[in-house]
């Protein structure tokens, strides 16, 4: 089954079939209405007309004397019209049928005491009868006509208007089908144009030849294409950047390995091997960061909301304490001091794993970019001035010039000249988390320590505005 056929089957009738069914159905109903009203109206008019005929015929008979009618001298009227013979006549005198026309039955067409127009059953047939007293006393005249005859006339007249209707129906159906098909053609073309695209071609569709009703769809599609192009470009950029960033540690590993191979003395070989391992560690760290970032970006692309990654909660103080224990050896190695200031647990709506990523990157940066002997201080505060929680990481390092502050968080931007082998990804990860969890991030100069101060605020969820 082709995709379009599958889609049709799923959503029921196609647009074209639905439009066609509606138009033709309505047409049928209207025509039926016309037929019914014609039937009723024409029947009524015909009755009036033919009743008048009966009355006229009766009036003529009333003027005749009985003697003129009696016996064989009943004048056979000349046949002037084909319908003329339909009218049957009976003249009754003192309960005896004196005169009757050839088409009249033997039985009385009506009752003598019921004058005027009546519909009566005579010998199994329905008659329309006008009963009137004759000129002389005790003479009653019945002038009648078979209802079936009237019916024939009615049918004939109805047939005359029904035929064009019936003949026109297929023509109209064909015309409607053609018009509807023409109307849905732009949609069909659009579908074909989209279906014929290669997945990587994301240039916008032309809006020029599209009717105004379809234009919003095309616009929406173009908008989608544009966003996909952006996404793809950012993916490509990321891959390129990542590959680029991995080149240096890999180059170092390769070079050190060759140095180890070619080393003539044992200390030189040991040194080169140690450097090779360091390079591996660095590459691993870079890969881990890249994966973290990719996961976070995937999170952002899927939902743009923290909800997908979960909302924790976790205890910020405990998380910070755990990380400090992890990073203490690194700080010790560099002669740096690592201090945590906190008063009891502070719960934040963030999963533990991500809070660890966030804090680790912040502390890691502070340690890496501060000189040996520097001081790095973490403060965790709960509920300060409408804030849910506040985390401050500050150091006594050199801080950052304003132009570097502005570029912080650009992927792979790295403050050069620090002698550090960071990739600049740590900040990208921090910023991604900040966006994902709608935190407030402030970077400025530490008043207490003189170096860089990073402040993270968790907004109070009870005061936050949903958007």
């Amino acid at each position: 089954m082709s995709p379009s056929a599958a889609a049709t089957a799923k959503s029921g009738l196609s647009l074209q079939a639905r439009l066609l069914a509606t138009v033709l159905g309505l047409l049928g109903v209207v025509w039926l209405g016309v037929a019914v009203s014609t039937w009723v109206d024409t029947g009524h008019e015909l009755d009036e007309l033919l009743d008048a005929h009966l009355a006229q015929a009766a009036a003529l008979l009333v003027t005749q004397r009985l003697d003129d009618l009696e016996g064989d001298n009943f004048p056979a009227p000349p046949t002037l019209h084909k319908y003329q013979t339909r009218v049957a006549i009976q003249v009754w005198h003192e309960g005896r049928l004196v005169v009757r026309s050839g088409n009249a039955p033997e039985a009385a067409l009506g009752r003598d005491d019921r004058l005027g127009l009546r519909t009566s059953m005579v010998q199994g047939e329905t008659w329309r009868v006008l009963t009137t007293p004759g000129r002389e006393a005790d003479v009653v005249i019945h002038v009648g006509e078979l209802e079936s005859a009237r019916h024939d006339i009615l049918l004939a007249s109805l047939r005359s208007i029904a035929w064009p209707m019936v003949l026109a129906f297929p023509l109209l159906a064909l015309g409607s089908w053609w018009a509807v098909r023409g109307a849905v053609l732009p949609l069909r073309r659009l579908g074909q144009a989209v279906a014929a695209r290669r997945p990587e071609s994301l240039e916008p569709l032309s809006v020029a030849s599209v009717p105004p009703e379809v234009a919003p769809l095309v616009d929406a599609l173009n908008d989608l294409f544009e966003r996909m192009t952006e996404l793809l470009a950012s993916e490509r950029r990321f891959t390129a950047d990542a590959a680029h960033e991995l080149r240096t540690p890999i180059a170092a590993i390769r070079m050190q390995a060759q140095v180890a191979q070619g080393a003539s003395a044992e200390p030189e070989r040991a040194q080169a091997l140690a450097a090779t391992l360091m390079g591996c560690d660095r590459a691993v760290r870079l890969v881990e960061q890249l994966l973290q970032l990719a996961r976070l970006e995937g999170e952002a692309v899927r939902g743009g909301q923290a909800g997908n990654a979960g909302n924790g909660p976790c205890d910020l103080t405990a998380t910070a304490r755990g990380l400090l224990a992890d990073l203490e050896p690194l700080a010790h190695e560099r002669g740096q001091s690592l201090v945590l200031r906190a008063h009891g647990p502070v719960s934040v709506p963030m999963p533990l794993a991500l809070a660890q990523v966030l804090l680790r990157n912040l502390i890691d940066n502070a340690l890496r970019y501060s000189p040996p002997g520097a001081q790095v201080q973490l403060s965790v505060q709960a509920q300060a001035a409408g804030r849910f929680a506040t985390l401050v990481v500050e150091d006594s390092g050199p801080g950052l010039p304003p132009e570097a502050l502005a570029r912080l968080g650009e992927r792979f931007f790295r403050v050069l000249g620090t002698g550090q082998s960071g990739s600049g990804l740590g900040w990208s990860i921090v910023q991604r988390l900040v966006r994902l969890y709608r935190l407030d991030l402030t970077v400025d100069r530490s008043v207490a320590l003189g170096g860089l101060r990073v402040t993270l605020d968790w907004p109070d969820p009870s005061q936050s505005v949903e958007y």
Partner: protein, 224 residues
């Protein structure tokens, strides 16, 4: 051969330095673009390995500045920027070779040798001057087809002389070519090495030009 290395990555820089040293080069290592430009302008090196993403100044700007000042030292750009436009830009800025990280140590050394050879107008890998020939790849010297054992410094000195055959070199220039930074050079070191070379090869091979320096003659040296 004295090489300038400009690379800000500690691990890679130390690796290249150690590797090139194994390959018989003397490596001076700078870690930023400004220092790279300063050292390029000094003209003390026979070739330069230049990273582009350097702190303080992009390597490409250091290179352009040096080329603008008519510094002809061959420069090999070693970078992570692998896009074709970046390669073109690097070569057009005055680079003589362009290598993308990661790079093989032996290839890097071979390319540096080639750059130095071409910079001195040589087409043969094996340098010849009269009865003396020198193979920079094998670090081997022959006199009339017989291998001669030279010390590292003697070899380096002979290499410099043969690359600049026919040109008079001052003692300062020779020292600059021979010693990387931080090496204590005694006042008569060059003379001692030249004496040894004359002794091991031919006395007439290296002539003294009074008050100027020394020269190795390109023409065939008559046998003693």
């Amino acid at each position: 051969m004295r090489i300038l290395l400009a690379e800000d990555d500690e691990l890679l820089g130390s690796g290249i330095r150690a590797g090139l040293t194994q390959q018989g080069f003397h490596v001076d290592w700078v870690r930023d673009g400004v220092a790279a430009e300063r050292e390029l302008l000094s003209g003390a090196h026979q070739a330069v390995v230049l990273d582009l993403g350097l702190p303080r100044q992009d390597g490409l700007d250091s290179l352009k500045a040096a080329r603008a000042r008519r510094v002809g030292t061959p420069v090999l750009v070693l970078t992570a920027r692998d896009a074709v436009p970046a390669r073109i830009e690097g070569l057009d800025a005055g680079a003589d070779d362009y290598l993308v990280k990661p790079v093989d140590l032996f290839e890097l050394a071979a390319r540096l040798r080639a750059l130095v050879r071409r910079a001195h107008g040589q087409t043969q890998t094996r340098l010849e001057a009269g009865c003396v020939s020198l193979d920079p790849v094998a670090h081997q010297v022959w006199l009339d087809g017989v291998a001669v054992e030279l010390s590292g410094r003697e070899y380096d000195l002979l290499h410099v002389f043969m690359l600049n055959a026919g040109r008079v070199l001052s003692r300062d220039q020779l020292e600059q070519h021979l010693y990387k930074w931080g090496t204590e050079v005694a006042s008569n070191t060059v003379e001692v090495h030249i004496y040894n070379l004359r002794r091991k090869l031919r006395a007439e091979l290296i002539e003294t030009v009074r008050g100027v320096g020394y020269v190795l003659r390109r023409e065939s040296v008559p046998k003693a």
